[in-house]
Amino acid sequence: MKIALTSVFVDDQQKAQDFYTGVLGLTTKHDVPLGEHRWLTVVSPEAPDGVELVLEPNEHPAATAFQEAMAADGIPVAVLSVEDVEAEHARLTGLGVAFTQPPTAMGPVVTAVLDDTCGNLVQLMAAAAPA
């Protein structure tokens, strides 16, 4: 058994594709037109056959309520692992990305939390540099 897909709700699939690929740097894996919406997934270029992240329309009223409640309390809906959180924070801030939490050492990891512009917070995580 393997984990194949996980999803985030997004308020606009095109905007989400632009952000997750153009800004974050992930790659589109599947982009299949399905009437009003698309079957749209992205993967890490470092793991093209790895877990796919589905950018799923938040059409269901419960989805927007969930997004609002999670964002209000600052809770990320996904975690991306990166080599260096400080470097990614600097790069993404330069691209205009807003962070609710700057890079912060939390025990064995460094984390930061950013706004994906589609209604969600996403956490970046890296192992803390050995002391």
């Binding site: 209000a72 309390d73 939490q101 912060t104 917070l121």
Partner: protein
């Protein structure tokens, strides 16, 4: 005793709430998620719900300010209510303030 001071003493009379103030010293503008993460990092393993309730009591005492910024709810430390407590039992001849 003054009601407002009562709230401050009650707010301080709990180790989890004192730990929350320690974590709030780190920086202003923290979300509930960040506070919970920092609390876990400090070895305090309270539930998010419990921490949220502790924050309500700290806010009622005026020690935490909650503000809305866009879609986020952010928490700032406010130590103003502590100043009168520091002064209260200082004898007149020990006062250093003008």
């Amino acid at each position: 005793m003054d009601d407002a001071e009562d709230l401050v003493f009650r707010a301080l009379a709990d180790p989890t709430r004192r730990a929350l103030l320690d974590v709030l010293v780190e920086r202003d503008g923290q979300t509930l998620f960040e506070l919970c993460t920092r609390m876990a990092g400090a070895g305090v393993t309270s539930s998010r719900q419990a921490i949220s309730q502790h924050l309500d009591l700290l806010a009622a005492a005026g020690l935490v300010r909650v503000r809305r910024e866009g879609r986020y709810r952010l928490h700032d430390l406010d130590t103003t209510p502590l100043a009168p407590l520091r002064e209260r039992w200082v004898r007149p001849d020990e006062r250093t303030d003008p």
